[in-house]
Each structure stands twice: as structure tokens, then as C-alpha cells.
């Protein structure tokens, strides 16, 4: 049985097909202004790359922010459930899934089947972790890829307001004025953001193993700060951006069996 998962992210749309528990193909398209067209395109590409027809696909599940807008999906599941399912497929020992994207951070506590037991989503005051990192790297005139790396070279620990991005930003400005080295500022930013995420994870509990997915998982500076804050080495799954689509395809497969 072939099933498909479509992750309708705000920026990128991902499609993944699985057959009897094996991943067949992964495709993605930029969402742009016509996310539905992009979804169609990604899906068509996936179907043709897998060498199958649309009729071969038994169930299609959509997830992500725009999930309800996919007319050819049979059903939808939320990102919360999809991520947990997707991560446990490759890392069955994981019980806590942390997802940090541009705007939202989530922590999910799940059981051995990837079923969600409890979840926390960042409160509004602590929103925008990913966007904030980007904005700060721009403010320091350091490319985002570098921003993560240079932060690893800092030995200093500068306390920065952990709760509110607006306050934190003013503190960054103060540090720039005080001629603080960029590496130290980068580390302070990552520590501050990681601290907000750790706060949120504590609401569901830090149950091992812990996985990190979402765009910010590719930032080594952030991952380092998060590991220190959690006092746990997080697992960053390969192809972390596809876990949502994978989770959706897996749930579609379960539905197909019923």
C-alpha cells in the first residue's frame, strides 16, 4: 500500500510517499503565493519520480499550517502529531520532540508509538525564535550560517533577557554599543532563545531521548545552547524538514490498515 504525506508549511511544501513502511520519494516546492499549485506540483513530481500513478496512492494526509486547503487530501492531522510520528519512525527511543521553526516552538511528549501524550506551544511573548535569530544575524551583519558557527567559538556567557524578544533585542543593541565581540553576542542570543525553548519543554517534562526538528535545528550555535540548557544531547534527525510529511504519510498508512 502506498500512502502520501503533504506538509503545507508556510514557506516550503514537502511531499513524501511511503510504501509498506519504506520511504519511496521526497519532493519539495516553495509555497509562494499559490501554495495549492505548489502542492499539486510537488505531489505530481513525487508521483512521477516514484514511477507510480495517482490512483496507486491509497491515502493522502495533509499536515502543516495550510493543511485544510489541500482538496486532494483524504484527511488532515496537526503538525504536533505528525512530527512525533515522523521522528519516532527513524528514532523509536525518542519521547520528547522539540520543533523550533521561524515563528513557533513546540514541545511534544509522546509514547513509544509516537502518540501524543501532552504538548506545549510557546506563549505569544516567547514567539518568533527562528525569526529573531535571523534578525539578530542581520543586525550583526553576519550571514545566518556563520552566526551559528561563530557562536561556538565564544567562551563568554552574557545574560540576556530570556522572555521577551523585544526586550532581548534592545539588549543586543546595548551589547553592540558596548563593542562586545560578535561571537559573544551570537552566543548570548542563542542562549537566550534556547532558554525560552527549554522553559517551554519543561512544561511537558524532559523525557529522554529528546529530538529537535524544524529550521533552527540546522543552526549549530542554537543546538549547542539547547543541549546545555536541557542538560541532554538532542538528536537531530537526518532530513529533519521532512518529519511532518513523513508523519502524515505514516498516519495515512495506519488509517489504510483499518
Amino acid at each position: 500500500m502506498i500512502t502520501a504525506g503533504i506538509d503545507m508549511g508556510a514557506k516550503i511544501i514537502k511531499v513524501l510517499l511511503i510504501k509498506d513502511g519504506e520511504v519511496l520519494v521526497k519532493t519539495q516546492e516553495v509555497a509562494g503565493f499559490e501554495p495549492l499549485e505548489a502542492a499539486e506540483k510537488a505531489f505530481d513530481n513525487a508521483v512521477s519520480q516514484a514511477g507510480v500513478t495517482r490512483e496507486d496512492i491509497k491515502y493522502i494526509f495533509a499536515t502543516g499550517a495550510g493543511r485544510s486547503a489541500v482538496p486532494f487530501a483524504n484527511d488532515t492531522i496537526t503538525e504536533v502529531s505528525a512530527s512525533a510520528k515522523g521522528v519516532l519512525f527513524s528514532h523509536p527511543s525518542v519521547r520528547t520532540v522539540i520543533e523550533v521553526g521561524a515563528e513557533e516552538g513546540r514541545a511534544v511528549k509522546c509514547d513509544e508509538n509516537g502518540k501524543v501524550q501532552d504538548f506545549a506551544i510557546n506563549e505569544k511573548c516567547a514567539a518568533g525564535a527562528g525569526s529573531f535569530t535571523e534578525a539578530m544575524s542581520r543586525a550583526l551583519e553576519v550571514p545566518l550560517e556563520e552566526f551559528g558557527k561563530i557562536s561556538l567559538t565564544s567562551e563568554k556567557s552574557i545574560p540576556m533577557n530570556a522572555q521577551c524578544a523585544v526586550f532581548a533585542e534592545s539588549e543586543v543593541v546595548s551589547l553592540v554599543h558596548a563593542k562586545t565581540p560578535k561571537a559573544d553576542i551570537a552566543k548570548a542570543v542563542h542562549d537566550a532563545i534556547a532558554s525560552r525553548i527549554v522553559s517551554m519543554v519543561r512544561r511537558v517534562g524532559i523525557n529522554k531521548d529528546v529530538a529537535l526538528v524544524g529550521g533552527v535545528s540546522r543552526n549549530p550555535g542554537f543546538v549547542d545552547s539547547l543541549n546545555r540548557g536541557l542538560e541532554v544531547e538532542v538528536i537531530v534527525p537526518k532530513d529533519a524538514e521532512y518529519v511532518g510529511a513523513l508523519g502524515a504519510a505514516l498516519v495515512a498508512g495506519e488509517r489504510g490498515k483499518k
Binding site: A65, D75, T78, S81, K115, V116, E123, K124, R203
Partner: protein, 433 residues
């Protein structure tokens, strides 16, 4: 296919009329030489009732909730309050109310009717400060009774007397500022009515233990509100008895609030008044909020029965007690109010978690939705400990952020997305329509 039959509430129109009359009476109080005053929904309005049958009040919280319901007017009010330099994170009821006062606009048409005095009680940091400012802005006499003497299970004579003494003091003050002679028999009548209305409201809530539930929380909001307007009045006490009888009829005839009840939830704290559609959204999953400690216990007065269950508090009249003196009436009024469920968590979140878990058990619930209401520090006091206390027992619990009175603080899309996730953890999918 609907599982249960539903039918509209017969009491609905009566509820609406009573509410309209209340706001109208206040507006027109001066026409016939009556008195009007303002204060909070928890103020001891049975006390000014002793000044005569022509004394009308307006309670700030439900008034401000009415403003919040009107998105445009609420925004004007908020902006007027912010323009005076007040912080955006203050009580959003207070900000709506002040805004209406600054703009000199009554939510029900016309000018903000200037009260003759302010009469308030104080348990949350903002209560006394709210009317302190109304009094200074409108140049009014002001009296506020401090009720923060600890939880009911620790009540003793010293604590009770602090309230009773202040109540006696308030009567002397009322006589002074109004020039009227105080009538104890009117106080006694009002105290009896208050005990009757608040205990009967608890009876109404008890009937929601039935499956299917005869009332959903969204409808309850329009009914419990009378207790927040005029809990001491005969009209409200009588109305709640009629409502209770209708609930009995609905329970006996299996008339449901929603046709597809298959999951029973409770909420917590005031809802985001401008977004009651949250509750309608639950219905798509066959889920119903059957109430909350807030709708049950903000006005309803309860007690733990000998078998450990929760039920309406037995009134002094039901016990055969006859109230004959001012002091006796005030002691009863103080004791009665101090046992209010929504006053307990101000001292200890564990007391609230216990009550919430009792509701979960007794009302047969599947989960809890906590509204992290940034508009009210009073009812969110300890709410994260409540989350921990409930989660510890294995009862599914979710939180969503919002604000009862400031819609700018409510992110509809994200809240609905959270509900979707919560429904998934409860294994509920949307019903096919």
C-alpha cells in the same frame, strides 16, 4: 446523524429581558429619585440594598464583558485608556470600563451614567484600585471591603469578624453619603435572596452532570451572568429556580445542548468574550464544555457533602435558620461569600486543582482546557500549578492563550490549531457533516 435531540432554552428570552432591564434600571435610576452605584460583581450588593428598593448598581466585570463583545467599541475603550497612560497588560475589564468612562459612552446607548458612589470588595490586586480611580476621576465617595482573609477551610472568628466589622462600617458610611436611613429588613431580604440565588445556580450546574448535558458552557455564560449582576435580587433568585426546573425537564427528557455529545470537557477562567466561537468549534468534534470552576463557582456557592461529593450549599433558610438582626445577616453574608469556590485559589492553587478534579470526576469529563487569560491576573493566579496538578492525575489538559476583554491578544488561528492538536490527543476527529 445526531445522537440526541436538542431544543432551544425556554428561559432564554427571560434571561435576555432581565439583563436588559438591569442595565436600563441603572441608567434611569435617577428619574424617580433612586440611587445608582458601581462596584465589582463580587461586591456585597446585599448591603446597599438596605438603602431602599430604588437602589440600582452596575457591576464592572459583566459590563466590561458586554463592551468586549462589541469589538469596535472595545477597541475605542482600550485606546482611550491607553491614551491616559495605563499599561496594556492591566485587567482588560478595568480598561474597557475606564475607557467607557473616559469616552463618556454607555455600552447600551447614551452617556456613561455617573454613579452616586462606588462600593467594591477586594481580593485581587486590581479590585480596589479599579474603583479608586473611578472615584478620583468622577469625584465620588468610595468604600471597599477587604475580603482577603484566607481560604474558607481556615476561616475562624478573627477572620470572619474582619469582614463583618468592615460591613458594619460600610453601613454607617452608606447612611452618611446618601443621607438615607438604613433598613435592616431590606438587608435581611437581600441576604436571603443572595443565598437562594447562588445556591440555586449550583443546582442548575449539578443538572449538567447528566449525559447528554442539557447546557453547554457558551449558553451558561448568558445565564450565570445574572448572578454577577444582581445576585441579591428576588428576580434573579426566582429566575434561577425557573431555570433549574427547565433543566430538570431537559434532563428527564434527554434534551441535549449539542446533538453529538461524545466528549465532555471543562474550561477555566473567563472566556475570550469576543471569540465564543471557540465553543462552537468544539461541537464539530462532538465535544462540549459542560462548564468550569468559573461558571460553577464564580457566583454559585457550593459545599462538600458528607459523601465527599460536591453540591449546592445548604442555605440558612433550608436549615430553618431565621435571620432577625443586622449583625446576624452580615455574619451570614460574610461566611456565605467566603465559601465561594472562586475565592479559594487566591491563597492556594492546590485548593483549586482539587475542586477541578472533583468536577472532572463527578461530571464525567474527558479533558480540561485552561484559558491562559492575560486579561485577568486574579483568575489566572496559580493556573500553571493547576495544569501540573491536573496533568499529574493523567487527565488530558491543554492551555490556550487569550484575553477575556482585549481581542488584540487573541490569535484565533493559533488557538483553533491548538484545539485540533488537543482533539487528536483525545482521539477525536471532526464529525462528517
Amino acid at each position: 446523524m445526531a445522537i440526541y435531540k436538542t431544543e432551544p432554552l425556554k428561559s432564554w428570552n427571560k434571561a435576555k429581558e432581565l439583563r436588559q432591564k438591569y442595565y436600563m434600571d441603572y441608567q434611569e435610576a435617577h428619574k424617580n429619585g433612586g440611587i445608582r452605584y458601581t462596584g465589582g460583581a463580587w461586591a456585597f450588593d446585599a448591603i446597599p440594598a438596605g438603602l431602599g428598593h430604588d437602589v440600582y448598581n452596575i457591576t464592572g466585570e459583566p459590563y466590561a464583558a458586554s463592551i468586549a463583545f462589541d469589538h469596535k467599541f472595545s477597541e475605542e475603550c482600550m485606546e482611550a485608556t491607553e491614551a491616559k497612560g495605563w499599561a496594556r497588560d492591566l485587567c482588560s475589564y478595568m480598561r474597557n470600563y475606564w475607557g467607557s468612562m473616559y469616552l463618556n459612552k454607555y455600552a447600551f446607548g447614551g452617556e456613561y451614567p455617573k454613579p452616586d458612589f462606588c462600593f467594591q470588595d477586594h481580593i485581587c490586586c486590581s479590585h480596589a484600585k479599579w474603583y479608586q480611580h473611578v472615584a478620583e476621576y468622577k469625584n465620588l465617595p468610595y468604600f471597599c471591603i477587604d475580603v482577603s482573609v484566607g481560604p474558607y477551610n481556615e476561616l475562624d472568628e478573627n477572620r470572619l469578624m474582619f469582614l463583618v466589622n468592615q460591613m458594619h462600617e460600610s453601613i454607617e458610611w452608606l447612611e452618611k453619603v446618601t443621607g438615607r436611613k438604613y433598613q435592616d429588613e431590606l438587608l435581611i431580604e437581600a441576604v436571603e435572596n443572595e443565598c437562594r440565588s447562588t445556591s440555586t445556580w449550583a443546582e442548575v450546574c449539578m443538572l449538567n452532570m447528566a449525559k447528554p448535558a442539557p447546557l453547554d458552557e457558551k449558553s451558561m455564560y448568558s445565564l450565570y451572568v445574572h448572578g454577577t449582576l444582581s445576585k441579591h435580587s428576588k428576580e434573579v433568585a426566582d429566575f434561577y429556580e425557573e431555570l433549574r426546573d427547565e433543566m430538570k425537564y431537559r434532563v428527564d427528557n434527554q434534551i441535549a445542548a449539542i446533538p453529538d455529545e461524545r466528549c465532555r470537557l471543562m474550561s477555566d477562567t473567563q472566556p475570550p468574550w469576543g471569540f465564543l466561537k471557540v465553543f462552537r468549534y468544539l461541537e464539530k468534534f462532538g465535544a462540549i464544555s459542560i462548564g468550569s470552576l468559573y461558571t460553577f463557582g464564580l457566583i454559585g456557592v457550593w459545599e462538600t457533602k458528607p459523601d465527599g461529593t460536591w453540591g449546592p450549599r445548604t442555605t440558612p433558610m433550608q436549615k430553618g435558620e431565621k435571620i432577625t438582626t443586622r449583625d446576624q445577616a452580615l455574619r451570614i453574608l460574610a461566611d456565605w461569600n467566603l465559601s465561594k469556590p472562586e475565592w479559594q485559589h487566591f491563597y492556594d492553587p492546590n485548593l483549586k486543582s482539587d475542586m477541578m478534579l472533583q468536577i472532572v470526576k463527578q461530571w464525567g469529563l474527558n479533558g480540561v482546557m485552561l484559558h491562559l487569560n492575560s486579561g485577568c491576573e486574579g483568575l489566572t493566579c496559580g493556573i500553571m500549578e493547576n495544569r501540573l496538578g491536573i496533568a499529574k492525575t493523567g487527565v488530558p489538559v491543554m492551555t490556550f492563550e487569550g484575553n477575556m476583554g482585549d481581542e488584540r491578544e487573541f490569535d484565533e488561528k493559533r488557538v483553533m490549531a491548538r484545539i485540533d492538536s488537543f482533539m487528536e490527543t483525545l482521539n477525536l476527529q471532526k464529525l462528517k457533516s
